[in-house]
Symmetry: C2
Subunit: 413 residues, 2 copies
Amino acid sequence: MIRINAYHSPRCFGYSGASAGAAICKIIRDEGPISRAELGRRTGLSKSTISLHVERLLNLGLVAEETVPSGKRTRLVFNSEAGYVVAIDLGVTSVDIALCDLGGTIIHHEERSILVSEGPEKVLAEITSVIDAILMEHEVETNRLYGIGMGIPAPVEFSTGYPINPPIMPGWHKYPLRQILGERYQCLVYIDNDVNMMAVGEMQYGVGRGIENQIFVKVGTGIGAGIILSGMLYRGAKGCAGDIGHISLKNSDELCPCGNKGCLEMVASGRALARLGTKLALEGESHALRKILDEGREITAKDIGDLASQGDLLCVSLIRMSGEAIGEVLAGLINFVNPSLVVLGGGVAGLGGRWLTTIKEVIYRKSTPLATRGLDIRFSELKSKAGVIGAAALVVDEVFSIDRVTQMVSQEG
Amino acid sequence: MIRINAYHSPRCFGYSGASAGAAICKIIRDEGPISRAELGRRTGLSKSTISLHVERLLNLGLVAEETVPSGKRTRLVFNSEAGYVVAIDLGVTSVDIALCDLGGTIIHHEERSILVSEGPEKVLAEITSVIDAILMEHEVETNRLYGIGMGIPAPVEFSTGYPINPPIMPGWHKYPLRQILGERYQCLVYIDNDVNMMAVGEMQYGVGRGIENQIFVKVGTGIGAGIILSGMLYRGAKGCAGDIGHISLKNSDELCPCGNKGCLEMVASGRALARLGTKLALEGESHALRKILDEGREITAKDIGDLASQGDLLCVSLIRMSGEAIGEVLAGLINFVNPSLVVLGGGVAGLGGRWLTTIKEVIYRKSTPLATRGLDIRFSELKSKAGVIGAAALVVDEVFSIDRVTQMVSQEG
């Protein structure tokens, strides 16, 4: 049935007892500061019922009172300092780990070099040693750690937290990350695809605040998208929605390891730019790129971006090629999804304005006029922090879902 | 915020009074037959509250009692015969008009030839004369006509019901269809894109029943898609989501009236097949197609399908070409959206098995293995009726939304 989710869920039904308290907590979290009187109008609950539930939330420490400067009236705010979450953003060659408060503010941030290809045991040992050190340094007691959110560069079955057939992460298939972290830290653990986490971060705290329909595109070593539709993260039937790296391009026959020709990743990703730059250097097409190899370094997408901004025409053309390919694929997806915003993030987004301009130009030329009416295309605001901030936001939203808070309030009440 | 819609809506809050009655009506409609005791367990409301609301719904005629064969206990069902809706599926050259009961069953169906290009006044005059005749024949009193649902081959701003810049419908831009029909028939009117209606029909009564994430693809004169995500029709930021006809193909440079090259519609639609078939006939490439022109007829996609099924190799290759183009575009969209089901409908879907097999073959080759795991690709079950059945389903869902039924129950209570 249409809109079945909004009307049909048992959660929508007559909040009474603890679940009314949880719903009140949700409103305070989303809309606070808010007065008790406003809560009453907003919910239709009586003054005494509101008072009872607010009292419990105050006792739990989830909510705090704030005095309005003008007088004696107080308003209620969600108490971001009531506890902590740990946010992890796992990349292919590095991991970001952050301790955050319940408002998603980063209190402590660490980055470590790892190799996901070395398998989950080794990587997890590194991650847990960093978490242990951070928790100790900030004297976080176990009962104040509400949850852990972790983004990984792989498709994830969200309900179990299992990585599913990750192409670049041998040994991680169905690895019980959630169980291991949950048992060690005695808290709730949520695992999701890294780009999904970035999309959530950007929607809640970045350039996508308050925008219902948006697509976050990460262009790094690989290319992926996170999809926010009707204000919700959309994961797809098997959790692999947004896997745009293997969409086929019009004018490319580059063979991809996936078996097809002309995949987006083969032309537009950071790995592709590095590969093509290296090829041109070896063929003697670019003196500037050759110099990098002669210095004993590997050519990276960043080198190409740096040279392009110095006016190197060959590097400019490589960047245009990446932008055109991304623009072409996004033009089709924009026709299909009709979003209000496309956010570009990931390492290659650091290539800057020339790259973004090419992407925009292709999108405005190739998408239908109606689909691009009012469409905004921007760089990520949270940049390299989008992943950890998103992981923190996602875990806080899950931990303070109506159902979870209902449990907390029941135990208190 | 994540899942903001499910938790955040004021509708989710403490159903009391009339809104509790509306919510009970919704449960009976979705899950009935259901007993009063089950309703109590399902909602947490007291026996007397349930009784009160059920009494009102019985008085309104929205709900009926059904005696369980075994004994005295009765169960409640939604009374599909309590009233009627009119469903309209407007095409480019014809219109389907149906009188349906509240369960979406077609009571009376008419089809008329029209030309949308002749403008809204003329088309609407034809439509209203048909509706008038049907209502008179079935002696439908004004107060038993609950609503009208109408699908049109154009982008639609759903909140107002306005067609927006319809490329093939001059004179229809922002035409006040909803107001005109609403004033004439004194009922609620909902206008949406025709393919959206088909997608809703197929999800509720066709091959897509109970499937959360599915894409309906209509291949007729043009090509469009209706998108169902998380069990809800997804319309996009400006109501034009699903506009896939102008996504660009890999191996095509056919110039499209939209200004781009290689658009899907230029190769794979019914119009494209007819155009290409005519071209080949005129160039003397096909004796069989030439014969149609010599008989003074125009070549249609159906002719090409018929000849292909008789073994005409040129027509087989045209059908393969259409299937390959559709498969290529869908392969990318499937990677992006990761649906469980793709439904193919519209006139060209009548081309049959060979066309569908080509589409499937390309999708399974070009989509990622994870995105196609468990993916089903099928023909529409409702066929040419998908549009009217969907329009009826959509208008019934809107008319019996919690908010609307709350109004009805308030007036009764």
